[in-house]
């Protein structure tokens, strides 16, 4: 990282020589390993399995435990992203290299781009240096030194464990990802900062068949440290699959109580709410929360914070991707809206302070250095309640339990908060107990309306990347087939 700072300083000097008003260099390196293992298909049912190297392979051999299709990739992604500002016009360029010559070439390119762009009247200046208030997130040395063989074995074990859970399980896929990241930011206002972090995630999906009925489900975990808990995820994925057998159709459209398991709710929470609390979206009139600071926007039991200082949080770091210290920001306190998330640009546009929420990370797509900073939550937390999922269910007279992943959550209307998703793991609740699984259902509602009709929150806070939330019970949700 010292070397990254050194290159960054050279690049900033070079940009100044080229006559920029301001410049910022974001240097990034990640060491990434992905191990995926497709295990097991029944002998008699020579089914097709999506497999290795883009190839679908018909496996007609018996369910050979501990053998299947491994798919492993490991590599280093490194690069820099450069912002050059001339007369309020911002030029951005990036290069996937930390070599001095290439970095300086990219600086020249950013300057050229700034010169052809029109000035941005809302631009004030790059951030000034500020001392971080905390130590940042966990860096687990075990992750940076992980052995692929050990990771593959873990995946194989998980597939076997899932297969052993029930004979009806005919396919299991396990994937684990381990990443260590290092980044530095140098700008012309004097920021020279670095941080590093480690990330680990595990994912298990299982399919099962019984007669003509098929079911599939999955579970996953994310963590800052290496954990063998993936094994318990395998069992839980298998369990989630098996409990779907014996599905009945929904007898009639249900408008009423729905219990969203933490995983299901987190998808709506992260897609819709994270959009609505971005100050940029508020400024651009794209958030329903505009003008509601100080007002009641949710039930009194609802409190939401964004906390970039939690050591175990996936979104924690000393500084954000512009070099501003991460902090804890109160969003909703007992139902009352307190504030929004800011990066440097949106903060200065309305003479506020950045809340340290600039991020260049994307879950899919280009590596961090190739993206310009955008407002994103650090760790967005919906504060938990007091009871477990079972006890939440026990208080529901007539309702529906929604578990697992929601198809279409990411296509929700982020401006209005309307959602309409398909859930495959759905259950009928009667008099406080789960009576039977339901065939896939459509769940529709409005997220912001739901914030006002949350009647209960679970104590089962779970982490989904940088979103943490418990299970919730919501009224007035529409469930149909």
């Amino acid at each position: 990282m010292e070397k990254m700072l050194e290159i960054g300083a050279k690049a900033v000097n070079y940009a100044q020589k080229l006559g920029v008003d301001e410049a910022e260099i974001f240097l990034y390196m990640e060491n990434f390993t992905s191990v995926k293992f497709v295990g097991g298909v029944f002998a008699s049912r020579s089914g097709a399995v999506k497999g290795i190297r883009g190839m679908l392979v018909r496996i007609a051999e018996p369910w050979i435990k501990k053998k299947g299709i491994p798919m492993i990739t490991s590599g280093i992604r490194a690069g820099v992203g450069i912002r050059a500002v001339i007369n309020k016009a911002i030029g951005f360029s990036s290069v996937s290299s930390l070599e001095e010559k290439r970095v300086l070439d990219a600086v020249e390119e950013a300057v050229k781009i700034a010169k052809v762009r029109p000035p941005d009247p809302n631009w004030c200046s790059l951030p000034e240096p500020e001392k971080p208030t905390h130590e940042g997130g966990i860096f687990d040395k075990k992750i940076s030194g992980l052995d692929v063989e050990e990771m593959l074995q873990l995946c194989v074990d998980c597939c076997v464990a899932a297969g052993d859970f029930d004979k009806k399980i005919n396919q299991a896929i396990t994937a684990v990802f381990a990443t260590s990241t290092y980044f530095s930011i140098v700008n012309t206002r004097g920021i020279e900062m670095s941080d590093k972090g480690t990330f680990f995630s595990g994912f298990v999906s299982t399919k099962a068949k019984s007669g003509t009925e098929e079911a599939s489900s999955s579970d996953f975990l994310t963590s800052r440290t290496f954990t063998e808990d993936v094994r318990s995820i395998a069992i839980s994925a298998a369990q989630r699959t098996m409990e779907c057998f014996g599905r009945k159709p929904l007898s009639k459209k249900h408008v009423g109580t729905v219990v969203f398991e933490n995983m299901s709710w987190s998808q709506l929470f992260s897609t819709i709410f994270a959009y609505g609390i971005s100050s940029f979206n508020v400024q651009e009139n794209r958030s329903i929360l505009k003008g509601k600071i100080g007002k009641q926007v949710a039930k009194e039991d609802v409190s939401i914070v964004d906390d970039g200082t939690l050591p175990e949080g996936l979104g924690t770091s000393k500084i954000d991707d512009e070099g501003v210290p991460r902090q804890k920001t109160l969003i909703i306190d007992k139902g009352v809206l307190h504030g929004f998330l800011y990066d440097n640009y949106s903060a200065k546009r309305e003479k506020q302070e950045s809340t340290g929420n600039a991020s260049r990370r994307k879950m899919f797509g280009a590596a961090a250095y190739a993206n310009q900073p955008k407002i994103q939550p650090s760790n967005l937390i919906l504060q938990p309640g007091n009871s477990g999922l079972e006890s939440l269910i026990s208080e529901v007279k007539d309702g529906v339990l929604v578990k697992g992943s929601l198809i279409g959550a990411f296509h929700s209307n982020v401006v209005t908060g309307d959602f309409s998703v398909t859930a495959e793991n759905v259950f009928k609740i009667q008099n406080g107990t789960i009576v039977y699984p339901l065939k896939p259902c459509t769940i529709a509602g409005n997220f912001y309306a739901a914030l006002n009709s949350i009647v209960n929150l679970g104590n089962d806070l779970k982490s989904f990347q940088n979103i943490m939330c418990p299970s919730v019970v919501v009224e007035k949700v529409v469930v149909s087939t």
């Binding site: 392979v57 990739t73 990036s94 996937s96 692929v148 190739a370």
Partner: protein, 463 residues
Amino acid sequence: MDKALEHALKIGADFAEVKGEDTVTRSVEAVNKEVRIVSETHNVGIGVRVFYGKGIGFSFSNILDKEKVCSAVETALKIARASARKTLIKFKLAEVEVVEEKKSTKVHLHPRDVALEEKKDLCLRQCETAMAGNKQIANVTSAFKEYYGTIYYSNTEGTKVSYEPLLIGLRITCVAKKGKTIVDAMDYHGGSFGLEVFKEVSRTPEKLAENAAKWAIEKLKAKAAPAGRFEALIDPRLAGVLAHESFGHLSEADFVVIGASPLTGKIDQALGTEMVTIVDEGLPSKGGYSIYFDDEGVPCSRVEILKNGVLSYYLHSRETAKALKMKPTGNARSQDYSFEPIVRMRNTYFDAGDWKPEEALSELKQGIYAVDTAGGQVEDTGNFLFKAVRGYWVENGELKYPLRDVALTGNILELLKNVDAVCNDLEIFSNPFGGCGKMEQRVFVGTGGPHLKVKNVLFGGAR
């Protein structure tokens, strides 16, 4: 790269290959004469694939010092060894000739020699033209994008090739508004060209802008397309998408190997009328995206997938060719150095026939002229649904009035049997804005064809 291969053999690999990349992607976008986006990404790195026993290992790095490159090789071998013990089945690589060659596309105005200012002007000129005097045009977006650089490939069998990919494109979208009706239309041009291509009379930024504006305004008064079965004239752009999306994917041998494609086991069978030939190749004689070698170092050969209506060949990587006892075709491609190659198309098109387009039109008694497509969906059974961008109602060989909501549905294998005229106006299109996605990898492709006349096409049937 040589060192990496040497190192791979030294530490015990059966086979190793390295892909190196040094490419630039640059784009400019202007909305209503205001330059909104200018971005540039320089992609440099190497990917290493190592075979060991039944196992395959892949690793990549874009830090290119000796230590990091060797460690990528070691990681790939480590992965291959670990995988070997857990792998159920694997196909070997088909044998190929050793090749040593360097290729590049020669153009007059290579984008690397043209100032950014001029590319910005292309976009501004488009906005200017589209907005001038057209009150109904509410919004104009113009984009220019370019991709170029060098791709290197070497393997331990001795193959060592490189080529300079080049792809540029200019695109304009006009939104027209009248009352509550909002419609849009688009025109574009692109391929492995130099910027001189935008000086051709029919391809100037102004011409493209005029077309988009004209089509958008025309669409304001378009009538809804009738539903039902009609005779259809399909334009070269829509023909290209049909060739690629609905037929080409079925001919990718990775789907054939496991029997997932409806083309499995149908070599030498007649699937279409005699006049239909569908080709996939790296270097079409005009237009498209020029690819000299695939990412296994195999020269891109011209494949007539369908020849005079008869299924003749599949698209192969070395692995699938071995599995099906055929010859590799140079269809193993990866998005960039950080991905492994998989079976992909290159430039896929209906080959030219001998009808003149005006003859084909005059033969159309009553039907729909369907132009270009804004998307749709295909299934691996060959079923498709495509929404044409524009359409016209045709009677007795004359375009009567414009149509909107022109959607075609059907199965490609049926459609091929209903093609009764293939014209001589073959065009191949490619641009850097989109690309074809498969298994999380996106690659640039070309698509095309001439005008096709097809009987009995189902319109408006949203299934």
